[in-house]
């Protein structure tokens, strides 16, 4: 995943613009005919567009070329790149494919296998206790009557309940792969194993060796084992499920790139389990990470630094002198930057106002275009379906028919709000067909494009669900404490999580007598005499 060292000699940012530029160049050279076709689609209707191509694949790159004039200055290495250089997206895609195919799932399969074996052992033990005397010394067994039969029935039903309960609690598809073992589960498994082993030990020593004839006692022994197993299962429910339900900590999750923040209330969990809960909520609560929105602040930061250059006039000195010189240089730079009359705040204000205006204009055009497009189709009634079978379209064809009239406005809007890489033409047409099928209004159709939704709303390649790394100073199996900080790192960004304990609330009581609500008028009357 370390693109800087492995794949290129150029820095992250230049790699992105360079790589995508190269990518565009490559695709443009190889698919000249296709690019001509998609450029034609801007003006006329082309229904058979290639699927899953980014909506503005080539146009955006050309536009970047036009706008990003000084990319030559910002790249740090111009030589050493070949036609086979990869962009950031390619690397991500390759590593994702690797992850999907290679069995990091062997850990999961091991877990499943172990738990199945343990479950079988646990379930078959009482049955074994009951059956073995009949097999080994059937002649010496005393016949036991209705009491035994009652106990048989209770063993059967308790085993059935245990089976269902174990299936319900433990045999669910795992929601996450944790870096360390799940401490409570491991403890419980060990406990169950020890318990069953001790029962077997006792059984082996006291019953098998001595070949006890009291069958009722043996049946009661088996019943006590099943009861104890049910109680261990109760313990498992309390430890694994119930303990963390009561909220105890409030976690503040901040995304490092754009500062989006959410708060979650969690119970007493270990750090890795808390991380899983946070990530599950991340996919639904945080707006999708859009790196295109961050370029403006980066260019401003670059301009701040690029304004001043420091020259060392006195020549190289000793080690201490060099450190002192570096310190004084940086201080001089800061002082000079503070003194310089910086008008970048002015630029920012006007730039943002202009952008806002442009977005609003494009949005207005888009809304009008979509509303007009939706008026072109109408749902056919049942009676009409029988009468006129000609020129009837299913939702997908209807979507394809009205899409070209709104495509241009939508393209422009997405480009202005820098969302064009999140939506492909195919996904937009699918969404349109979906909206038409479910009788949605144009406003409902547009909602997913006008506002940035949570990450789950977009395609699976945006999810990067297998790329998360938990970075923590404390051990990840230790519990959350007040002031715990840990990081969840994805490829381009990270989530910073801080923990705070929910305060202990002390409630006092005050009783108000319902008869004590009395009022008087505030008068100021004037009387003439």
């Amino acid at each position: 995943m370390d693109t800087e060292s492995t794949y290129s000699g150029y820095s992250f940012y230049s790699g992105r613009s360079r790589g995508s530029h190269r990518h565009g160049e490559r695709s443009r050279d190889r698919h000249k005919s296709r690019s001509k076709e998609s450029s034609r689609s801007e003006k006329s209707v082309t229904i058979n567009a290639p699927p899953a191509e980014p909506l503005l694949g080539d146009q955006s790159v050309r536009e970047e070329e036009v706008q990003d004039d000084n990319w030559g200055e910002t790249t740090t290495a111009v030589t050493g790149t070949s036609e086979h250089s990869l962009s950031q997206e390619d690397i991500v895609r390759i590593s994702k494919d690797l992850d999907d195919s290679v069995g990091l799932d062997c850990k999961r399969y091991l877990n499943v296998a172990l738990s199945v074996i343990l479950g079988l052992v646990v379930l078959l033990t009482p049955l074994a206790f009951l059956i073995l005397p009949h097999l080994l010394w059937p002649d010496r067994l005393k016949a036991c009557g209705t009491a035994c039969e009652g106990l048989f029935i209770s063993v059967a039903f308790k085993l059935l309940i245990l089976l269902l309960a174990v299936w319900a609690l433990f045999f669910r598809p795992p929601r996450a792969g944790l870096p360390r073992i799940f401490v409570f589960r491991a403890l419980l498994a060990t406990l169950v194993l020890l318990f069953v082993l001790s029962y077997w030990l006792f059984y082996g020593v006291r019953i098998l060796d001595s070949q006890d004839g009291d069958y009722q006692g043996i049946v009661q022994y088996a019943v006590s084992l099943v009861d104890a197993l049910l109680f261990i299962h109760y313990l498992a429910i309390v430890l694994l499920e119930l303990r963390q339900l009561q909220p105890f900590f409030s976690l503040c999750v901040t995304r490092s790139t754009d500062g989006a923040t959410q708060h979650y209330n969690l119970g007493q969990l270990s750090i890795q389990r808390a991380a899983v809960v946070i990530l599950e909520n991340y996919y639904k609560d945080f707006p999708v990470h859009n790196p295109a929105m961050l370029t403006a602040s980066k260019s401003r930061a670059a301009k701040h630094l690029a304004g001043l250059k420091v020259y060392n006039v006195d020549g190289p000195g000793g080690n201490n002198a060099a450190a002192g010189i570096a310190q004084s240089q940086s201080r001089a730079m800061i002082a000079a930057a503070a003194r310089r009359r910086d008008s970048s705040h002015n630029e920012l204000y006007y730039e943002e106002a202009e952008h806002e205006r442009r977005v609003r204009k494009r949005r207005a055009r888009l809304v009008v275009a979509v509303e007009e497009a939706f008026t072109h189709i109408r749902r056919m009634q049942e009676e009409e379906q029988k009468k006129a079978p000609g020129d009837v379209m299913d939702p997908r064809e209807a979507a394809q028919a009205i899409f070209p009239s709104m495509a241009r406005a939508l393209q422009k809007y997405l480009r202005t709000t820098r969302q064009q890489h999140l939506h492909s033409m195919e996904s937009i047409q699918q969404h349109l067909a979906f909206c038409i099928t479910n009788n949605m209004t144009p406003k409902a159709f547009l909602e997913s494009y006008l506002t940035t939704g949570p990450t789950l709303q977009y395609g699976k390649d945006r999810w990067l669900a297998r790329q998360w790394t938990l970075i923590s100073e404390a051990s990840v199996t230790s519990g959350l404490k007040d002031g715990t900080v840990f990081l969840l790192k994805c490829i381009d960004f990270s989530l910073v999580v801080t923990t705070k304990k929910i305060p202990y609330i002390q409630l006092a009581e005050e009783f108000i007598d319902p008869k004590s609500h009395k009022f008087v008028l505030r008068l100021q009357s004037e009387t003439s005499v």
């Binding site: 100021q524 009357s525 004037e526 009387t527 003439s528 005499v529």
Partner: protein, 124 residues
């Protein structure tokens, strides 16, 4: 016109004698009162101390008996015919002023300018 709780109220007062005017069956005095212990003292525009619940003259009709007798708007009425007006309700004050049998009411009123005038005359 200072009011110290527990101490007797001291004020410079002016005696005003109003002869009631007969208007049909009614006897009118020609002014309006406001205030009283059952009223809200903070809304009184004439009082210096906004907790003062005394009876104040809020309006004097032009040319009426009260104006002729020398009553001015903003005066605080301390006594009416010997009856105290500093600790009465609004309705009690009205009743004391509009007794049907009396033709003349003798008021003791006080205002800020009286105190200033007395102080000035004492200084000379």
């Amino acid at each position: 016109m200072s009011f110290i709780p527990g101490q007797p109220v001291t004020a410079v007062v002016q005696r005003i004698e109003i002869h009631k005017l007969r208007d049909g069956d009614n006897l009118i005095l020609g002014f309006s009162i406001g205030g009283g212990i059952d009223q809200d003292p903070s809304q009184n525009p004439f009082s210096e101390d906004k907790t003062d619940k005394g009876i104040y003259v809020t309006r004097v009709s032009k040319g009426g008996p009260a104006e002729v007798a020398g009553l001015r708007m903003g005066d605080k009425i301390m006594q009416v015919n010997g009856w105290d007006m500093t600790m009465v309700t609004h309705d009690q004050a009205r009743k004391k002023l509009t007794k049907k049998g009396e033709d003349v009411v003798r008021l003791l009123v006080t205002r800020k300018s009286l105190e200033n005038a007395v102080r000035q005359s004492m200084m000379h």
